[in-house]
């Protein structure tokens, strides 16, 4: 497929997204170590920002996102308000989901970040259903689902790919292959060493890409999205990357080889992209970007801190559209 090359604004935009994600998550990391500041566990995509930025920037507004426990990047790249995001992570009333979700199921249906499940492997099934609706209504939308390499072991992922392929539904399956599933290394759960190889058995295109190359990810995503949009059915894109902060901020990563970690640190997607931009004479456009990202995060923290906790009894709200009244 022949596509227009990325223009300057697009390239700069990709970089800005990655910087915002990194800045936001660095603050999460910091806050996670302040006792009592953040309830529950914190899961960042530190090191994987290129996947979020590269794929999400390739979507149109009517395209739908389904994501998982490692969702900050997807949400921020989609333009979700960092304040509402952080407030949700903190369980506040002003959070995206009024504190019902917390850190693990962050969703912003208004921006078509339609559903988020922390049941590993569930996302692809939900996405298949959303894509069915797009197909049924003959809309031009595609549903893009992010899932981990570990998730690919779940039966649900197979069922989703199979049905999407049989019915030619517009699903872009994006596997963020970050070398780990919890404390389990990729080869311990995946006998062939890659997930993308499965695409052939569903008669859909599939490809392994360098997940730390934001422009490459973006290009690949654009190609696959065209495929999906043109009625040819789903596609599978695997992005090889690395989970730099362990499974979550509580993870000490004792089981991770230090050299491996260091080698991936040397491939940091932001540093790499900054070099590329500078090489291409675009260095000046990065000026002030970091500061702006930090300021956005400062505002988010201020907003979230100022947001009260929701009243306890509002725990009863939001379950049904037509509530059930029960005594007892």
């Amino acid at each position: 497929m022949q596509r227009d090359p990325l223009d300057r604004d697009q390239r700069i935009g990709l970089h800005a997204d990655m910087l915002l994600i990194r800045a936001f998550e660095d603050r999460i990391t910091q806050m996670a170590h302040e006792q009592g500041r953040l309830p529950g566990m914190q899961i960042t995509c530190h090191g994987q920002e290129a996947v979020a930025a590269g794929v999400v920037r390739a979507l149109t507004p009517r395209d739908v996102i389904v994501t998982n426990h490692r969702s900050h990047g997807h949400l921020l790249a989609r333009g979700v308000d960092p304040g509402a995001l952080l407030a949700e992570i903190m369980g506040r009333q002003g959070g995206l989901n009024h504190g019902k979700s917390g850190t693990l199921h962050l969703a912003d249906p208004g921006r078509n970040v339609l559903m988020t499940s922390t049941v590993v492997g569930a996302g692809p099934l939900l996405a298949m259903g959303a894509a069915f609706a797009q197909h049924y209504r003959q809309e031009q939308g595609v549903t893009c689902v992010f899932f981990g390499d570990g998730a690919a072991a779940e039966g649900s992922v197979h069922e989703a790919m199979n049905l999407a392929a049989v019915w030619k539904l517009p699903v872009l399956f994006v596997c963020e292959s970050n070398c780990w599933a919890g404390a389990q290394a990729h080869k311990e759960h995946c006998p062939i060493g890659e997930i993308a190889a499965r695409a052939a058995s569903y008669n859909m295109p599939g490809e392994m890409t360098d997940g730390n190359d934001v422009e490459g990810v973006h290009e690949t995503a654009r190609g696959f999205l065209e495929h999906c949009r043109s009625g040819k059915g789903p596609a599978l894109m695997e992005c090889r990357t690395y989970r730099m902060h362990g499974h979550g901020e509580h993870d000490q990563q004792q089981y991770v080889d230090k050299d491996e970690l260091a080698s991936w640190a040397g491939r940091d997607p932001i540093v790499r992209h900054a070099e590329v931009l500078r090489r291409d004479g675009l260095g000046e456009f990065m000026a002030g970007m970091l500061e702006r990202a930090d300021q956005a995060v400062d505002r988010a923290v201020a907003f979230a801190d100022a947001s009260p906790f929701p009243p306890p009894e509002e725990a009863l709200d939001h379950l049904y559209v037509n509530p059930i009244l029960r005594e007892g």
């Binding site: 939900l126 549903t143 649900s156």
Partner: protein, 328 residues
């Protein structure tokens, strides 16, 4: 009013709903092209009438069937999907319980899931991997609503309410009723609201609450008891969630005796909830202990005499009621 079989009544509801609303589609295993040619089956003739866009035969993938419904309903469609037999609900349990039931809550009320799952229950000489009444499971999963009709009119009216309800509803259809129970069915857009029980037979001495095919067993028992001068009130619950607690309690206040009946096994069955609710609420009115009649705590055996042994009978009901009359 025309007399129809229960299966025909379901088919009529499905056809009517699809005519009324283009957002409604059906999906499931063998719902379009079937190995059965039986006009009493609930999707008989619908593929021919509505075409393969709206009546979709799926692969054997129960998680995908319900996942399809969850995803598509979040996009605003109103899916009506079928899980062939009740034991296979286990394969879709994650999609039902962790997704259909919870995603609205997790979103803080931003999303809704107007989906309907039809599932066939009943005991029909196929053994315990095809027959296993798990309505108590579903009733213990906040976020779902459950209907369980006993006759053609309710099968139509409850299903139409379910389909147009903005929340996820599971409709349990007891397969043998499709062809064994006929009755008058109101024409047109007839709805039976979820959460309203029906007094299937008036009585003054004891209240029996039940649902589905067991209603007919209860009525048979009531008839036999009448001959002995005992008057049994039979409540057909119709909807298990929401439960029409008020009707049950009003009846017990009148009769002073309460028993439950279902084909599901006893321990932690739906009857436990009913019995507990009445015991909590009607302490002063009860003249005898509450009683539960249910299947023994075993899987459904295949051998015909053992299958008959499994299923609670009208004789069991009369015996228990007689005992309650002597008790107080």
């Amino acid at each position: 009013m025309p007399v129809k079989s229960t299966g025909q009544a379901v088919a009529e509801a499905l056809a009517l709903a699809m005519e009324m609303d283009e957002d409604i589609f059906l999906a499931g295993e063998g719902i379009g092209t079937s190995i059965h040619v039986n006009p009493h089956l609930p999707t008989f003739g619908l593929l021919e009438r509505f075409g393969p866009r709206r009546v979709r035969d799926t692969p054997v993938s129960e998680a995908a069937i319900v996942g399809l419904a969850v995803g598509a309903s979040c996009m605003g469609l109103k899916p009506v999907v079928e899980v062939m037999f009740f034991p296979f609900i286990t394969l879709a349990a994650d999609m039902l319980v962790n997704h259909a039931a919870k995603l609205r809550y997790l979103s803080g009320g931003l999303s809704s899931f107007p989906l309907t799952v039809r599932v066939k229950s009943g005991v029909f000489s196929a053994g315990c991997q095809h027959s296993h009444s798990l309505e108590a499971w579903l009733a213990h999963a906040p976020g779902l609503k459950i209907a369980y009709p006993s006759n053609p009119a309710d099968a139509k009216g409850l299903l139409l309410s379910a389909i147009f309800d903005p929340d996820p509803v599971v409709v349990v259809e007891e397969m043998p009723l499709y062809w064994t129970i006929h009755g008058e069915v109101p024409e047109g857009d007839y709805r039976v609201p979820l959460g309203q029980a029906r007094i299937a037979r008036q009585g003054g001495d004891a209240t029996l609450a039940t649902y589905g095919g067991a209603v007919h067993v209860a009525l048979q028992a009531a008839e036999a008891l009448q001959a002995e001068g005992i008057s049994l009130e039979v409540i057909d619950l119709r909807s298990l969630v929401p439960l029409d607690t008020a009707s049950v309690i009003a009846s017990v206040r009148k009769t002073g005796r309460f028993l439950t009946l279902h084909d599901a096994t006893r321990f932690c069955g739906y009857g436990a909830e009913l019995a507990a609710t009445v015991a909590e609420t009607c302490f002063d009115e009860l003249k005898a202990p509450v009683r539960r009649i249910a299947a023994p705590d075993i899987p459904v055996p295949f051998s015909p005499p053992q299958e008959a042994f499994y299923k609670p009978s009208a004789d069991q009901v009369t015996q228990v009621v007689r005992g309650m009359m002597h008790a107080g």
